[in-house]
């Protein structure tokens, strides 16, 4: 079965790197979300601070976190992702 998938295909090196970027992004996303969510949210509710009317834990974790992840995703795709052809050189179909 490994004969059909040539392991030294150059496109796979690019694909593997991009998959790894996906994994790294998800780890950053998780740490950010968990850190702010439980870091600030575990306070007593009376001691909460607020940003734009929302509890600070929620604002930083969910709203700012969304924006930060979006920026990271855009940067990754624009600067680290490469365009490769999907069809085989000899022509598929």
């Amino acid at each position: 079965m490994r004969k059909t998938v040539k392991p030294r295909d150059k496109r796979f090196k690019i694909a593997h790197r991009e998959a790894l970027i996906g994994v790294i992004l998800v780890i950053i996303n998780f740490v950010w979300w968990y850190g702010f969510g439980y870091g600030l949210g575990s306070e007593k509710v009376e001691n909460y601070t607020y940003v734009f009317g929302l509890p600070a834990w929620f604002f930083y974790s969910c709203i700012l976190g969304f924006i930060v992840m979006l920026v990271l995703v855009i940067i990754s795709v624009k600067f680290f992702f490469k365009e490769v052809p999907f069809d085989n050189e000899e022509g598929d179909l």
């Binding site: 998938v5 392991p7 979300w33 949210g41 509890p55 969304f66």
Partner: protein, 482 residues
């Protein structure tokens, strides 16, 4: 009948039908019926790809069930829902180019095709087709029920009539248009979902007198509502975090999502889909669940969570706008159901019938079978939906977890781990499905984590251990074959 609300819904349905019939042109013209009907000839651009992923993923639970739970649990549930932001970029990045290239090399049209070529095993094909059919049937039923309840609550028709109207409208465009119709209508539906979320969020904040006021009345009612721990302080960090597997990274194992990762035209389409998908999925999940929480001070005392979203729309919006907003959950449900329908149909027609029953069927025979099977599945689901179960969201998640436990490792390790073989894949699928069903029945949420976590670990271990043990064996077999 509430005509101002119903009119925009009817217009929406007409647009969807028009797209379905327009796609039928491609089905008729195409040289390869199977490629076109089940995969749209791999011609999806970035915007359509992003929208069809979001729309397939976002379902009755994002628009009806989810906001309902957020209403009872408070911000803690919005926090949990935001886990889904990861699906926007993770699936396409991880399956990404490798899957697109390999699927083309294998000439795979369905996920099962891919597994069949990768593992060269009849058992793998049959187990995967069976799990797709079983789990997606339960998921489709849940969606059908959600759709019918929605039509029922909006129009005042009986549940049965509502169900029939809803189902027939979906069946028509799926049967005539195939995957392309599904993807294109998903794009329309995705836009409606996005717009609906935006309109309703703004109207809700306005009706509640601004965010600070809403938050302080929530805190006055029950401080836990604005904490990450849920209204009764029951959402533990371990439990909430385990949703990263169920609705975050595990989504890589959902066949209805993975099949989309082999349908796009080129790298460019994939790149823009990642960005658009992240924006849309993040916004819809954040918006819809926040709406559920913000509804609480505006409409206190709602008992049935599923009615929060329709009642709120009617309350805070003028009738025509409510019609547009309520088209959103309808769109979400339709776009999920249509994807499941075409997928189950492809599992039966392409993966089982053409592989093992009648391998050399003519194109016109395949056409007849595909239309026929799609229709019959639709009708069976109607029968199931006629005596509907109560909590949409849990039924839906059941099929999520089951499919993920079955498919995640055969797909991911099949792509990235050369040593993985058919014995590993079969073990992993059986262990995944078996342990998920057993745990769900007898020991749900083991160790305070969502039920899905253990089966995914078990099936991973099964895959790796068995692949290692049988490694020599497979190499010997292959050399004998050559």
């Amino acid at each position: 009948m509430n005509w101002p609300v119903i009119t925009p819904l009817l217009i929406f349905l007409l647009i969807i039908f028009a797209v379905g019939f327009w796609s039928n042109k491609f089905v008729i013209k195409s040289d390869s019926f199977l490629q076109e009907y089940f995969l749209g000839e791999r011609q999806l651009g970035g915007f359509i790809l992003a929208m069809t992923m979001v729309a397939t993923y976002g379902s009755a639970s994002s628009f009806i069930g989810g906001p309902g739970i957020a209403y009872t649990q408070g911000l803690g549930w919005v926090f949990l829902a935001m886990v889904q932001l990861a699906t926007g970029y993770f699936v396409l990045m991880v399956l990404g180019k490798k899957f697109a290239i390999v699927a083309r090399q294998y000439k795979a049209i369905t996920l099962v095709d891919f597994l069949k070529e990768r593992y060269k095993s009849k058992a793998v094909v049959l187990i995967s087709a069976a799990s797709i059919i079983i789990f997606l049937f339960s998921s489709m039923t849940a969606q059908w029920v959600g759709g019918a309840r929605l039509v029922e609550s909006l129009t005042g028709l009986s549940y049965t009539t509502a169900l029939l109207i809803f189902v027939i409208s979906v069946l028509v465009f799926v049967i005539v248009g195939g995957f392309r119709a599904v993807a294109l209508t998903d794009a329309v539906q995705g836009v409606v979902m996005f717009a609906g979320t935006l309109i309703l969020l703004i109207a809700t904040i306005k009706a509640g007198g601004g965010i600070p006021k809403i938050i302080s009345s929530l805190a006055a009612e029950n401080p836990n509502l604005i904490s990450p721990f849920g209204a009764a302080h029951t959402l533990t960090p371990a439990y909430v975090s385990s949703f990263w597997i169920l609705v975050g990274v595990g989504v890589v194992g959902l066949p209805q999502i993975t099949v989309r990762a082999m349908s796009y035209k080129n790298s460019k389409a994939m790149h823009s889909a990642i960005i658009i998908g992240t924006i849309v999925v993040g916004f819809i999940m954040l918006g819809m669940h926040l709406i559920g929480v913000f509804a609480r001070p505006i409409l206190p005392g709602i008992k049935v969570g599923d009615t929060v979203m329709p009642l709120l729309s009617m309350k805070v919006l003028p009738p025509y706008a409510a019609g547009i907003v309520l088209a959103a959950p309808m769109a979400a449900i339709m776009s999920t159901v249509d994807a499941l329908l075409i997928l189950v149909s492809s599992a039966i027609v392409k993966d089982v019938y053409l592989n093992y029953v009648k391998p050399h069927a003519s194109d016109s025979h395949v056409k007849k079978i595909s239309f026929g099977v799609t229709t019959i599945i639709g009708l069976i689901v109607i029968l199931l939906a006629l005596s509907p179960p109560d909590l949409i969201v849990w039924l839906n998640l059941f099929s999520f977890g089951g499919l993920e436990s079955v498919f995640i490792w055969p797909v991911v390790l099949g792509l990235y781990w050369g040593k993985g073989n058919k014995y590993g894949a079969i073990t992993s699928m059986l262990l995944g499905m078996g342990s998920y069903i057993l745990l769900d029945r007898f020991y749900p949420n083991a160790l305070g984590l969502h039920t899905v976590v253990l089966p995914i670990i078990i099936s991973f271990l099964g895959f790796v251990v068995v692949s290692y043990v049988t490694h020599r064996n497979v190499i010997n077999q292959n050399s004998k074959e050559v």
